[in-house]
Subunit: 133 residues, 2 copies
DNA sequence: GTATTTGCAAATGATTTGCAGTGCT
DNA sequence: AGCACTGCAAATCATTTGCAAATAC
């Protein structure tokens, strides 16, 4: 329902596969292609990896989702939302959002570098509470 | 000379290939595997991609170099130094260092998430002065 | 009805591995 | 001398592509 609307809002055709992708991302917060494939197969035994790649690509093209590149790990994908940072656990791989206001950093960056800057990716690595024993 | 020393300091054997890799990274600041391969072939016509991959991997293992993962582009590698941010031009791909003090962000992250955080990657995207026409 | 999407299989591209020979310390 | 490093070719893994059938609008 809601997820259908997200697709329409980005002028994408609504297919059950796409709905399933968005549902999963919404539910998990961040998910890798492989995990997406594994999880989605419960609903769509017949879905192909090619379809996932195509859709992930398409959805990034219309800024519906965003890739999170993580040092030393495979990328995860998340639904676009306000700017935030990520903390990632080196032990278990858990990825978590952290509120983060980029204004100052973007302004400083533009002053120093003379770039026109409009996008930022922040990934912090560490050990999560669970993995600290 | 200096580059030999860097290798020894990280307990790696000194080979001409490794010196060439470090020389290039030092000179260019940031370089992708492919560019590294192309550039290094002037000195080492016989060097193999496998050797580059192995060495890059080894050097990351001892924290001599670091991978910079860039949204929408191939990774680049740089010699480890104090924490800093990166700005990357969406047009020409140029990557530049920006001074950045991570203290506050790391502290806040630890408070909020209860992670023990010790590493951070910041990549800002935009358009560089040249590409702005 | 038309254009887009899907799923398959094959193609491509990137990275890793095994191994014999070579070079570093 | 002994172990690590190199370069090659082959293997593996990730992603993309072409195309015919199915589906969305």
């Amino acid at each position: 329902m809601k997820h259908e609307h997200i697709l329409k809002h980005h002028q994408l055709k609504v297919t059950p596969q796409r709905i399933a992708i968005i549902e999963l991302m919404h539910h998990r917060g961040h998910i890798s292609i492989d995990d997406l494939y594994t999880a989605i197969k419960y609903k769509f035994a017949s879905i192909s990896l090619a379809t996932l790649y195509k859709n992930v690509h398409t959805m990034m093209g219309v800024s519906l989702i965003r890739e999170v590149k993580i040092p030393g790990h495979k990328s995860k994908y998340e639904i676009e939302k306000e700017t935030h940072a990520h903390v990632m656990c080196k032990e278990c791989g858990e990825l978590k959002d952290i509120p983060f206001n980029a204004e100052t950093l973007l302004k400083d960056t533009m002053n120093i570098s003379k770039y026109v800057a409009n996008d930022i990716s922040v990934v912090i690595s560490g050990i999560c509470p669970n993995c600290q024993q």
